[in-house]
């Protein structure tokens, strides 16, 4: 929770928690834009300030057909692995054909990068 001043009056505003470095944030966003043309959402333990470490869970919505989306997902994960080092990165890609519980969790918790 941060205190911000709007019109000279302090109000409390909820700032989304995100345990990523600015560099990681940028690398992930750029890679997602490159392969899917959309910004990803971060969810899972990395948006919980009370936790430490943990996987980087990313959620991406795309209109690509599943085969195409799978290929892009593999390249995105490989790029992130190379650029961010040996981190556990899970990418969930929703092509709009299924309605899996993980999609709801990701949308609920997700923070746009």
């Amino acid at each position: 929770m941060w205190m911000v001043l709007i019109g000279g009056h302090p109000i409390s505003a909820k700032i989304p928690v995100m345990r990523l470095t600015p560099e990681e944030h940028l690398v992930i966003r750029e890679a997602s834009l490159r392969y899917f043309g959309v910004r990803p959402q971060l969810f899972g333990s990395r948006v919980d300030d009370n936790k430490r470490g943990g996987d980087i869970d990313l959620y991406i919505e795309t209109a690509c057909e599943p085969r195409e989306a799978f290929g892009r997902e593999m390249h995105l994960a490989a790029d992130l692995c190379q650029q961010l080092g040996d981190q556990k990165i899970d990418v969930v890609v929703n092509t709009g054909r299924l309605n899996l519980p993980i999609y709801h969790v990701a949308r609920e918790q997700g923070v746009w990068l």
């Binding site: 599943p66 799978f70 593999m74 490989a78 790029d79 692995c81 190379q82 040996d86 899996l100």
Partner: protein
């Protein structure tokens, strides 16, 4: 893990052969229709991709298997889960991820040993990415290709875990397309890995 290179190669080769045999038992490209089968058939189809590796490790008494045995002692009863629930799902995930991690560890070990013993590069304490760049410079593989292999391996582990966990809940049809895509990609990657292994082994034993 510290193994002589010839032993490490032999282990990798055994893994590669088992995997290739498993893939060769199926048609070149799996289809969703092949996966849309009763649970027993589905399990038979997936068996080569998970169970064989587990059995191999059990026979070799690999340290990681202690975890599997500990799981058995704790009440899990491989080879197949018999009910759906958080425990089963967790076990499936552990099971598949265990296999992937073991592959990663073996891969790292062999590549480092190869770079130091065969290519005579100062890679004993080098970061793994540096080793990949060395191998790229020598024309064996690229860092990008290795990262793609890793992505597909992880996707395979997750897809198998999901398919196994959901097979018993009759939800598995939803996961079949994903599983088919992953298995077809994994097949292509297995061939590529086999080719890398062959090239490195030829070089090592020609010295």
């Amino acid at each position: 893990m510290s193994l002589p290179l010839d032993v490490a190669f032999a282990q990798c080769e055994r893994h590669a052969s088992i995997r290739m045999t498993a893939f060769n038992e199926r048609s070149a490209q799996l289809t969703e229709a092949q996966m849309d089968s009763p649970v027993a058939d589905l399990l038979r189809l997936l068996n080569p991709f998970v169970m064989r590796f587990t059995n191999v490790h059990v026979q070799q008494g690999h340290p990681k298997v202690c975890n599997m045995r500990a799981l058995r002692r704790a009440g899990f009863n491989p080879p197949w889960p018999t009910e759906v629930g958080p425990t089963t799902r967790h076990f499936c995930r552990l099971w598949a991820l265990f296999h992937v991690k073991l592959q990663d560890a073996k891969g790292h070990h062999v590549l480092r040993q190869f770079a130091t013993d065969v290519l005579r590069e100062p890679a004993e304490d080098a970061a793994f990415l540096k080793i990949l760049k060395l191998l790229e410079r020598h024309g064996y593989m690229t860092a990008q290709a290795w990262a793609l292999q890793r992505s597909v391996r992880h996707a395979l582990a997750h897809a198998l875990a999901h398919a196994l966990a959901h097979a018993f809940a009759h939800e598995y049809a939803e996961y079949m397309l994903r599983l088919v895509l992953v298995l077809n990609n994994a097949r292509a990657k297995a061939i590529e890995r086999f080719d890398w292994l062959f090239k490195m082994k030829s070089k090592a034993f020609s010295l």
